[in-house]
Symmetry: C2
C-alpha cells in the first residue's frame, strides 16, 4: 500500500426504529446484535482490523449514544470517540473525521463506513477496501458499490463507467431510489450498483471538495481545526457543530466530486433494513430464525427475537416476525416487516403510548 496512513471513520450516530421494539430511541440498530452475540457496530470495528490500526479508527456518534459505544468497543481509544452535539448528517461527520486524521498524520486516507450494515464476507471487504485505499491515495474518491441481486427500490444506485483498472470503474453518477420498473431496468442493464455509503478518500481531497462545494461547512471545519486534540475541542465543537449545514456526503460532496471511482463489491452486504432480513442472515433453530430465549412448538419459518431478559413462545404459527424487548411486542407476517413504521407512527402520535417508543 502507499505511504498514506489509513484512518477509519465509523459513522455510528444514526437513529431509526425499523427494528422496533428492539431498536428504539437511544438504542439504534448498530448497537443491536442480530447475528450471534456481536453488535453490528462491533462487527464493523472488527472488519477494519486488517486495514486500520485501532489507534486510527475514529467513531463518530452522538452524545446520547457515546457511553453505549464506549461500552461496546473496548479497544476504542477515548480520544477517537467523536461526539456530535447534534446530528448533522454525514458530510459534517466525515469532515470532522478528516480534521482529526489530518491533525494526527500527513495526508491520511479515510475509510468511511456505516456502523449498521452487515457484510457476510469480511475478507472480500478487506481486499476491496485495501484496493480502494490505494486508489484513493492517488487522488480520486472511491466508493464500494454493491452488485445488485434484486430490483430493489429502497436504495440509491451508482452508475458505473469505463474500467479504469483492476476492480475499479469510473463513477458516472448517483441515481435516486428508482421505481420498480426502473429498478428492474438497472438490474438487467448491469451498469448499476447499490450505494452503500462506503467511501475512501484522502482527507485533504475531501476538505478541498468541501471548500469548493460546501463553503459554509468548510468555514466551520476550519474554525474547529486548530482545537483538534486540544482541551478546547469539546467547547468549540459544542459551539460550532450545531451551526454546520446538515447534508449528506453523497449529495453534498460525491455527486459533484472532481474525480470519483467505484469498485463493484460482491461481499454479502445487507443494510439490515427490516426484520425480514433475518430470514436470510439469522441463526436457525428448529426451522425458525431465532435470537435469545425462544420456545417454538409446531412452528416454522418464523423470525423469533427475544431480547435480553425476554422470552418468545410460539405455538402453531408460521411465517411471522415476533420480537420482544422490554415488555414491547411486535407481531407481523414477514412480508409486512416494513410496516413496523406504522406502529411507530401510532406510538408517536398517541400520548398514552409514546412511552413505548
Amino acid at each position: 500500500m502507499s505511504n498514506h496512513p489509513v484512518f477509519g471513520a465509523i459513522l455510528a450516530g444514526g437513529g431509526g426504529t425499523r427494528f422496533w421494539p428492539v431498536s428504539r430511541k437511544g438504542r439504534p440498530k448498530q448497537l443491536l446484535s442480530f447475528f450471534g452475540t456481536q453488535s453490528l457496530l462491533e462487527r464493523t470495528w472488527d472488519r477494519l482490523e486488517s486495514l486500520v490500526p485501532a489507534e486510527n479508527r475514529l467513531v463518530i456518534t452522538t452524545a446520547e449514544l457515546a457511553a453505549q459505544v464506549s461500552a461496546v468497543l473496548k479497544d476504542l481509544p477515548a480520544n477517537n470517540l467523536l461526539c456530535e452535539p447534534v446530528g448533522r448528517n454525514t458530510a459534517p461527520a466525515i469532515g470532522l473525521a478528516a480534521l482529526v486524521a489530518s491533525a494526527r498524520a500527513t495526508t491520511p486516507v479515510l475509510a468511511v463506513v456505516p456502523s449498521d450494515h452487515f457484510i457476510a464476507n469480511p475478507t472480500e471487504f478487506s481486499r476491496l477496501a485495501g484496493r480502494a485505499c490505494e486508489v484513493a491515495a492517488s487522488g480520486p474518491i472511491a466508493t464500494l458499490g454493491i452488485v445488485p441481486t434484486r430490483p430493489e427500490t429502497g436504495y440509491g444506485y451508482l452508475r458505473m463507467g469505463a474500467e479504469l483498472g483492476s476492480d475499479v470503474r469510473e463513477l458516472l453518477g448517483f441515481v435516486e431510489k428508482p421505481n420498480a420498473e426502473r429498478a428492474l431496468r438497472y438490474l438487467l442493464d448491469g451498469g448499476y450498483l447499490w450505494n452503500a455509503g462506503i467511501f475512501f478518500m484522502r482527507a485533504d481531497v475531501l476538505l478541498s471538495e468541501v471548500r469548493n462545494q460546501l463553503p459554509e461547512l468548510h468555514q466551520g471545519l476550519m474554525a474547529l481545526a486548530p482545537t483538534v486534540d486540544t482541551p478546547r475541542f469539546s467547547a468549540a465543537l459544542a459551539e460550532i457543530y450545531p451551526e454546520l449545514p446538515s447534508i449528506s456526503v453523497d449529495y453534498g460532496v460525491m455527486e459533484r466530486a472532481a474525480h470519483a471511482v467505484v469498485l463493484p463489491a460482491d461481499m454479502g452486504w445487507s443494510d439490515v433494513g427490516s426484520w425480514s432480513v433475518l430470514d436470510e442472515l439469522g441463526q436457525s433453530k428448529e426451522d425458525n430464525k431465532v435470537h435469545g430465549s425462544v420456545v417454538a412448538v409446531d412452528s416454522s419459518a418464523n423470525i423469533l427475537y427475544a431480547d435480553e431478559g425476554a422470552v418468545v413462545a410460539a405455538v402453531g404459527v408460521e411465517g411471522l416476525v415476533v420480537a420482544v424487548s422490554q415488555n414491547r411486542v411486535l407481531v407481523c407476517p414477514k412480508g409486512r416487516a416494513q410496516d413496523v413504521r406504522r406502529v411507530v407512527d401510532v406510538l408517536t402520535q398517541d400520548e398514552a403510548l409514546s412511552r413505548f417508543l
Copy 2:
C-alpha cells in the same frame, strides 16, 4: 330465606398456568383482570353481595397468595382470610370454612364458590344461589349445574333426576369428563349439566358427610375446631393441615352424599379455561379483543393482551392470541390456545428457561 345464616366460602387457592404468560407461579388466574379492571376474584366477591354480608365471606387461599388476596379485596375482614399452609384440594378447604362458620354461627349454610370463573349474569346467579341456600338449609347439599351449550369434553358432568320443586332437580351422580361422542350424547339428551364446583350446604351436613366418608379428614378438622378464632389457630393449622388428605369435595364428599340436588343454571358461566375464551367475553376494539396497551394495524379477530407496563403491536395478522406480561410473550392461533401447556412444559423442563414460568 330460612334463619340459617349464610357464609361464603370463596376458594382462591388455585394455581394454574393456562393463561401463561399472564398467569404464572404466584399469580394465578383469579388475580387477573380479563374483563375490564376487576379481577375474577373481586368479581366473585362482589357477586356474593346480596347473598352473604361481607363479615360472613370467607376466602380460603394459600400463604403464597394471601398478601395479594388482601390487597385486592379491601372489604375482606382479616380473620376471614384462611390460609392453607399447603394446598390440599377442595374437601379440606371447605371443611375448614365449615369449621370457621360453625364457630361463628348456629347451623350456618355455606355457599362454596370458585374464585376464577366468570358469570355474565350475576343477577341470575344471585337468584339461583338464594334458592340453593333455602334448599340446603333444609338438609340436602345443593349444586348449581351449568346448562351445556356445546359438547364440551373438558368438564365433568352432573346427571339430573326428577324435578323436586321449582328450579330444583334430584342429583343422580357425577360423570367424568366424556369423550367427544359421549359429550354430544349428553348435550342431546338434555339430562346433563356441567359441574362448575359451586355448592351450597349446611356446615353441619358437610362435616357429617366428611365424618362418614373421609374419617381421616374429619379427625384433622376436629383437632382444629377448638382453635378457630383463638390465637392458637395459625399454629394448629400449620401443624395439622399438611397432614390432611388431599381430595376434592366432588369425589370425596358429593358423589356419595346422602342427599344431593342440583339447580340447572343458565347464567353466562365460563370457567375462563384458555385464552380463546376472551373471544366470547373480552372487550372489543377495532375488530380485536384487547386488554391494555395495544396497537393493531390491519389486524382483526385477534386476542391481544398487554399486561401492565407492556404493549402489543400487531400488523397484518388475524385469528391470533398475542399475550405479553413481564417480557414474556405467547403467540398462537386462537384454536391452539389450549397448547399453552406445551410451552409451560418446555419452560418447566429447561433449566435455562424455567425463570420464565
